[in-house]
């Protein structure tokens, strides 16, 4: 079975909510929309206090090319444009909307009929995706229209859909495939049309046999979409790992990007959002979120409106367990511990994980024993122990030379380290600092 060539780990899967159908979560009392929900420039608010908005009304304009518009997920009145602590742990500007109903914009097609035909030109599709504020739904939140506009000199050859969901615990994509397979496939064909390619792949790890079976059956009517079952290995959902696993091509070190080897990678959730945006005129304002954890009474998958506080999801899943040690936004490997449960659901919130005390506790650090396990599991072929040490010593020149910018921050090194060293903490510091140095250098030129 296919997988990527080097490194990787296999954490306990813990897909507790895999058997739970997607439920629609009740509307929140107040919805909060942080203005920076994506990579790139923050959006600019275009509403002010007292404005009345409907579901699907644009409330913030994209702040540049690499940016995305934000739409209201509720109907009501703008309470204020203020700030809230978001998943980053810092206070960021946000729009607060008091909910008083569920009145949708008339332009949105709310019927559930499948619309297969799409007669738009590629540019029109990209424009429509941009107008709907669609970003990568896997967690990185890179604006989708940017990925669909290859830089000059690059040509896309295939679209690869990331339905791997290699993060333990999370099941949002898995459920989406089981329940919206037809829509996803239409979305994939629209994405293929947008970048003008004739080949599409959907990579699914084989711990989701039901999804593989269903998708293969449904994909039979599309001659150019192929379902690729993949061996279970983390971090297969990483863009470069997925390209390696599916079409056996290797993306060179940064600044090279996937399009340099002809691949456009999109998350399966993004494919669904693209379907809704292009065929149903529905901007991105809701998504499937997994609420899970070993002590959670009722691990579930919720179709959630953006801006809903995480506390409401936790309540719906049976409440906050008493032994909660950490609340993580995202999965256990790449997710981030949150400062409080009032953090709103954003475009990239794939899950809320409630770790119990035991899981959350970090083991005490001990000296490196030179076992080189971190080297063998690094999917990018780096030497994590070295990068961490150099970062701790602030030797930025060498950190750069050792290729820190290739790090995808998957955390496999830290996961596997028998000495529980803070490898990723230091590597992230090094990556951030070196990134700053490189930007400053480029700006000077």
């Amino acid at each position: 079975m296919k997988t990527f060539r080097i490194g990787g780990v296999h954490p306990a899967e813990n897909k507790l909510s895999a058997g739970k159908a997607i439920e629609t979560l009740a509307l929140p009392k107040q919805a909060v929309f942080p203005l920076s929900q994506h990579i790139g420039a923050p959006a600019t608010a275009i509403v002010k206090k007292g404005d009345v908005v409907k579901v699907g009304t644009k409330i913030a304009e994209a702040g540049g090319f690499v940016s995305a518009a934000i739409f209201s997920s509720v109907s009501g009145k703008v309470n204020k444009v203020d700030s809230i602590i978001d998943a980053s742990g810092y206070r960021k500007p946000a729009i607060f909307i008091d909910v008083d109903g569920d009145e949708w914009e008339e332009t949105i097609d709310r019927s559930t009929t499948l619309v297969k035909e799409c007669n738009l030109k590629p540019e029109e599709i990209v424009a429509k995706i941009k107008d709907a504020g669609v970003v990568g739904m896997g967690g990185a939140c890179f604006p989708t229209h940017v990925k669909l506009s290859p830089p000059p000199g690059c040509k896309a050859e295939c679209v690869i859909i990331n339905a791997v969901e290699c993060e333990p615990y999370l099941t949002a994509d898995h459920r989406l495939m089981l329940e919206k397979a037809d829509e996803i496939l239409v979305g994939v064909s629209i994405l293929m049309k947008a970048v003008n390619v004739t080949k599409g792949y959907i990579g699914i790890e084989n711990n989701k046999p039901d999804a593989i079976k269903l998708m293969t059956e449904k994909a039979a009517q599309y001659s150019n979409i192929e379902i690729v079952p993949l061996k279970v290995k983390y971090p297969q959902g990483g863009e470069k790992q997925l390209i390696d696993a599916v079409i056996a091509r290797q993306v060179p070190a940064p600044p090279a990007i996937p399009i340099n080897v002809g691949a456009v990678v999109q998350n399966v959730g993004t494919a669904y959002a693209v379907y809704e945006a292009v065929q149903k005129n529905k901007p991105l304002f809701e998504r499937v979120v997994t609420v899970t954890g070993k002590s959670v009474k009722n691990p579930s998958n919720f179709l959630t409106r953006m801006g809903t506080p995480m506390s409401q999801l936790i309540e719906a899943a049976g409440g906050l367990p008493e032994d909660t040690g950490k609340v993580i936004g995202g999965g256990p490997m790449m997710g981030k511990a949150l400062l409080n449960t009032e953090v709103p659901i954003c475009k990239g919130s794939s899950g809320v994980l409630l770790m119990n005390d035991k899981e959350a506790a970090r083991a005490a650090e001990s000296p490196c024993i030179r076992c080189a396990k971190c080297v063998s599991v690094c999917p990018m072929g780096l030497e994590p122990f070295l990068l961490a040490t150099l970062s701790a010593k602030k030797d930025w020149e060498r950190v750069e030379k050792e290729d820190v910018m290739s790090c995808i921050e998957c955390g496999s090194c830290q996961f596997t380290c028998p000495s529980h060293r803070y490898l990723l903490d230091y590597i992230r510091l090094g990556k951030g600092t070196v990134g700053g140095i490189i930007r400053a250098r480029n700006a000077k030129k």
């Binding site: 602590i85 980053s88 742990g89 810092y90 206070r91 981030k336 511990a337 400062l339 409080n340 970090r362 701790a392 803070y422 903490d425 230091y426 992230r428 510091l429 951030g432 600092t433």
Partner: protein, 309 residues
């Protein structure tokens, strides 16, 4: 006997020949270095702290010599050595020393465990730089001290230490040279290099929180809430309010202490002033070094570079 003689003579001859070769080589390939550079380097502290902005003490020495040749030592300052060192350098180079104000590192956060309740636990690597990137920190104040001690690590003069009780770094005024290494190491730019002030007395806003008043007020007992009372009371227009945060311009501040009692949160500190009595004598400038606290007696050594906090 013969053998020893031969050995001595042959070694002696080899030595002689080598000496001649080395002598010729040293004359022929000599690199001229201004002897003043070595002289200047000798009077420098040789801590290589980089506070002057040059690569080490030797780098600073050659920069001084170059500047002297150009005509002025203006802008050259060894923060660790301060005025005495600069005077010595000036004497060596036959220049006039440019007077500079002594400066000191000031930690502008008073968010001790007592003042700033903990709202979260950080369990990552013990480094402020890393803690800063992960989240707002263990308290509700996303601007205040993280307490991991990056500044302590950065100090080459053993002049800044964590106080285990408050969890905040404290500057040793006698040892601090205002080289600015701690200010650079602090990811939150809490440490500022400020003029030491007359008799080491100075007025400082001990807060860098830029949140709106209500949020800052909730996060910390002694935060600046940007109410602007100090701005109004200041007779010298030394205090400015920007982004909900007051700042006292040390160049304009006359240390009248009017702002201190005015601050409803006690965020403005009068450092090294004698305790307030019914009527306090004006900050004496007659006895420059002697009087009040033992701290002020410190060798008035350290001076500072242009603050670049």
């Amino acid at each position: 006997m013969d053998l020893i003689l031969v050995a001595v003579i042959s070694l002696g001859v080899i030595g002689l020949i080598s000496a001649v070769i080395l002598f010729v080589a040293s004359k022929k390939f000599a690199v001229y270095e201004d002897p003043r550079i070595a002289q200047v380097a000798e009077v420098l502290p040789q801590a290589n702290c980089g506070g002057c902005g040059f690569p080490g003490c030797n780098g600073f020495a050659s920069a001084c010599v170059k500047a002297a040749d150009a005509g002025s030592l203006e802008g050259k300052l060894c923060p660790a050595g301060g005025t005495p060192t600069m005077e010595k350098i000036a004497a060596i180079l036959g220049m006039e020393a440019v007077a500079s104000e002594p400066k000191i590192a000031v930690v502008r956060c008073n968010g001790s465990c007592e003042n700033r309740p903990r709202t979260a636990v950080y369990d990552g690597a013990k480094s402020c730089a890393i803690a800063h990137t992960t989240s707002g920190g263990e308290t509700a104040c996303a601007f205040g001290c993280l307490g991991c001690g990056d500044c302590v690590e950065a100090c080459k003069f053993d002049a800044i230490h964590m106080n285990p009780e408050t969890g905040l770094p404290e500057v040793d005024e006698e040892k601090c040279t205002a080289c600015g290494a701690c200010a650079k190491a602090c990811p939150r730019r809490i440490i500022e290099i400020r003029p030491k002030g007359k008799n080491s007395r100075r007025m400082v806003v001990m807060c860098v929180n830029k949140d709106k008043g209500a949020i800052a007020n909730k996060a910390c007992k002694v935060s600046c809430i940007g109410c602007g009372k100090c701005v109004k009371v200041c007779p010298f227009e030394a205090i400015t309010l920007e982004n909900n945060l007051a700042y006292i311009d040390p160049a304009k501040c006359k240390s009248c202490r009017k702002c201190e009692p005015e601050c409803p949160k006690g965020a403005i500190h009068a450092v090294n002033f004698p305790p307030r009595k019914p009527k306090v004598e004006a900050p004496a400038d007659t006895t420059p070094k002697a009087a009040p606290a033992p701290k002020a007696e410190a060798v008035k050594a350290p001076e500072a570079p242009k603050a670049e906090a």
